[in-house]
């Protein structure tokens, strides 16, 4: 998988077992324990949503659940912070267009 650090002088990455989930119906490989946003960055996917008014692309900014830039539609639920949501086998992740529907 691209975008993953293979060797590091200080850290050892103990990655969880491989899981697959779907981003815009495309199959994405990830590791258990990592967030949706991290898995998408590892796969070179930066655009996580389009903004409500100007329809500009938006991506990950703070990665620690503060800034709300990474809101996505996860398993049909809009406005989910993808940086705080761990990947699950078979989950469906979509870019959020605008504010997301309440129902």
């Amino acid at each position: 998988m691209e975008g993953r650090i293979k060797a590091h002088p200080i850290l050892e990455f103990r990655r969880g077992k491989r899981v697959k989930f779907y981003f815009e119906d495309r199959e994405i490989e990830a590791y258990e324990g990592e967030t949706v946003a991290a898995a998408l960055q590892a796969n070179g996917i930066r655009v996580l949503r389009y903004t409500p008014n100007t329809k500009r692309p938006a991506g990950l900014f703070c990665a620690i659940g503060k800034c709300s830039s990474c809101l996505m539609k996860i398993d049909g639920v809009p406005n989910v912070r993808s940086c705080m949501t761990k990947v699950r086998e078979g989950m469906h992740v979509r870019r959020q267009n605008g504010r997301g529907d309440v129902l």
């Binding site: 650090i5 930066r46 900014f61 705080m84």
Partner: protein, 605 residues
Amino acid sequence: MKSYETIVVGGGPAGMMAAITLGSKGVKTLILDENDELGGQLVKQTHKFFGDHAHYASVRGFEIAQKLQEKIFQDTNIEVETSATVIGIYPNKMVVYAKNGKEFKATYEKLLISTGAMEKQLPFINSDLPGVYGAGAVQTLMNEYGVMPGRRFLIIGSGNIGLILAYQLIQAGAEVRGIVEALGKIGGYAVHAKKIKRLGVPIFLKHTIVRAIGNESVLGAVIAKVDNNFNIIPGTEVEKVADTICVSVGLTPLSELAEQAGCKVEYIPQLGGYVPVRNERMQTSNPDVFIAGDLSSIEEATTAMIEGKIAALEMSRNFIKIAANKKNIENEINDEIKTLALFRSGPKSAKIRTGLEKFGINIKHVPKIESYGVQIGPTGKLRAIVDCTEEIPCNSCEAACSFGAIHIGENLNSTPVVDYDKCTGCATCVTACPGLAIHMLKEDLENSTALVGIPYELLPLPEKGQKMWALDEDGNYVCDSIVKRVVKYPNKTNIVYIEVPIEFSRKVLSVSFPKKESPFVCRCEEITLDKIERVVDSGITDFEELKRLTRVTMGPCGGKNCKLVVLGILSRKTGVPISKLSHGTSRPPVKPVEFSLFMKGSDPT
């Protein structure tokens, strides 16, 4: 709904230390954190921390988090709730949090809020473009998840976070194109800045970012010079190629929950923004609510831990009935306040001191800070050279030296003094120094060489006998060197000893693998300039011989592309003008044609 004597909101260094302290005093405590493990931002810090032995100096951030976690899990007085997002605090001493999609409530008698901080925004054109990250986000991706979000990085802001990020990116194998800083000087610690300068990262002072370039993702940036009022100087704009921009222009406290808990807040820019009003013992305007860590002022994890301890000790007084124990706690609090004052007595804490004065908290009666320059020591002896001249709160070298050869003294902001009679050349201080500011040196006057021992935290690790480049303080090439010895240490700050000519003994501060990039001269046969030069340097000065040895000019183009370039190299190396050199013999076919052409024979007409 559960009730607790104390609740701690936020499990970073301040909250963890508070919980440990409360637990140790027998106070029933709940610690809540949004992440699935405790540690806050320590978990993504790979560098060794400054400070003193009692506060985990020389220990890497993520390892401090592990040590604190162990203490918390051992204590039955402490209940831990992770993946628990506190969404509000209500007047009836109730904390409401969300976990696994459900709402939970808990009440407290005393509350500690240690929610930390978040990154400040810097609006520039396209600052919302995917690929512009907060510096902390990139640290999270790299160091927690092992994910590298880009290849070429530009960092905005030269505070400690920006400087540390640059170093961490290089450790993880990325390229850092530079750090942009609007001020005329570097914001963070000098030792952090020197670490990355030695690796060749430029720092653009008095510059700002004008815009990010790209449509759906960052492709580059425009930076420009600024005047003393931070206005962009027209005409100084330059484009930088980068696929990722990291913003690290400071942090601002997250005071929302404190406000909900009835704490009065004030805007104090020196402390980072809106901060709860509090006294020396971390008690806010609501006597039942305490704060600690970045929420009270943007500082280091060390001061956050001390604040957490002070707050917890003060909170625990409420639950202790025996007078003698109360008195002991009073003494402990006073000791911690003194330690904290010591940490904040250096020049780098001037801003914090000014901010705290607005709450009537003054730092007084600290031992004097003594400063010394870099000492060279006796020539010819294997010894430590300490390049640490900025007064920062750290005495890890003094603590590391078991021979008493390094002295810092009572105020840990003082700079180190080396007693070279006592220095044995063991290099323990080199591997302990969080700033990588110590290296080893031994001159050999007989052979006119010097042995330089450089702390090394990159991959791959050089090997004995390897030829390396020796670099100066800005990462510029100084001379070639040979690796004489590589010493590995358990803390992963290894030392690479290289031999250099003696005249460079004071100039060499860094080491890198030789950069092998060389342009292709012969594109058909893929021969580089470097290869041709090496063959010529070995004594081959005849064009025909050069051809046979390298196959240069012998590919499908028949030398049309490269013959003149090769002759130019030969001429430059030998001093013989091209007109006097043999340029080989041209033979048919001059263009590539099919073999079948010859097999069919000549045209009968």
